[in-house]
């Protein structure tokens, strides 16, 4: 895997996490008074744009790499998501949340290694 590919993989993960944070940000504004329609639309629009970028990057990577190489990186997304949620959304994460994240990441990596080499 070249440094460029690794960078693209990380970028796609960041786009996914950023997209979800923006969606959550927008949806949290729904139903608040005073009404802030602009904030809702900015969140949803930005979120959908970033998730589209993630999808495009990911499809491009899947064409170049084998699934068994690419799939382990999806284990990163729970870690990044919980980090981003506590940084940008002030969601609390305690020891048990992080234990859960560690187990999910380990499980995802095991599942990734069980994907037979050569499959796309």
């Amino acid at each position: 895997m070249t440094p460029l590919t690794v960078t693209l993989v990380l970028l796609s993960q960041l786009a996914q996490v950023g997209g979800q944070v923006l969606l959550k940000h927008g949806m949290s504004e729904v139903g608040r008074t005073p009404r802030r329609t602009g904030a809702v639309l900015r969140g949803l629009g930005g979120g959908i744009a970033l998730l589209t970028a993630w999808f495009g990057l990911w499809m491009g990577l899947m064409q170049k790499l084998e699934l068994s190489q690419l799939y382990p990186f999806t284990g990163l997304s729970p870690v990044l998501m919980v980090l981003a949620a506590s940084l940008f959304l002030r969601e609390r994460a305690d020891g048990r949340t992080w234990l859960g994240v560690a187990l999910i990441t380990a499980g995802t990596i095991l599942v990734a290694f069980s994907v037979p080499a050569g499959s796309h």
Binding site: L23, G31, I104
Partner: protein, 140 residues
């Protein structure tokens, strides 16, 4: 206008029910897309066109898969309205488990011992993080 700070009390609007529904929709959508892609892989078309994935749109399975995917996205927005992102996102890891089980039971794909191990770890991880969030909500 009043500010709804609590989710609606009707059972069918319960956000956690919808989070579960979201996982089921995502898994069902992936399985439908897989059936559609497999069905269309044998058709006569130039390789470059097949590479774009557009030829898979010729199958109703694919169309149904896309329909469920869109439904799942709208449903996900409703989930985000009420449930913290970290909990909601971690619970959607169960989609991987549901897809593996669906591929095994419905599509006849094999599951290796390694994959069963991964599935068990992911499930345990979801239970731990869900417990932690449930406790945090009780304190509020």
């Amino acid at each position: 206008m009043t500010t709804p700070t609590k989710p609606p009390s009707a059972w069918y609007l319960n956000p956690y029910l919808h989070l579960g529904l979201n996982c089921a929709l995502m898994a069902a959508s992936e399985l439908l897309l897989k059936v559609g892609a497999t069905e269309q892989s044998g058709i006569a078309a130039p390789e470059w066109l097949k590479g774009t994935g557009l030829t898979t749109l010729g199958s109703w399975w694919t169309i149904a898969g896309i329909g469920l995917y869109i439904l799942a996205f709208v449903n996900w927005l409703y989930v985000l309205r009420w449930i913290p992102l970290n909990l909601a996102y971690l619970v959607t890891s169960s989609v991987q488990v549901l897809i593996a089980l669906g591929a095994w039971l419905l599509l006849g794909e094999g599951i290796s011992l390694l994959r069963w191990g991964g599935i068990a770890l992911i499930t345990a991880g979801i239970v731990f993080s869900a417990q932690s969030s449930a406790q945090a909500e009780e304190k509020l």
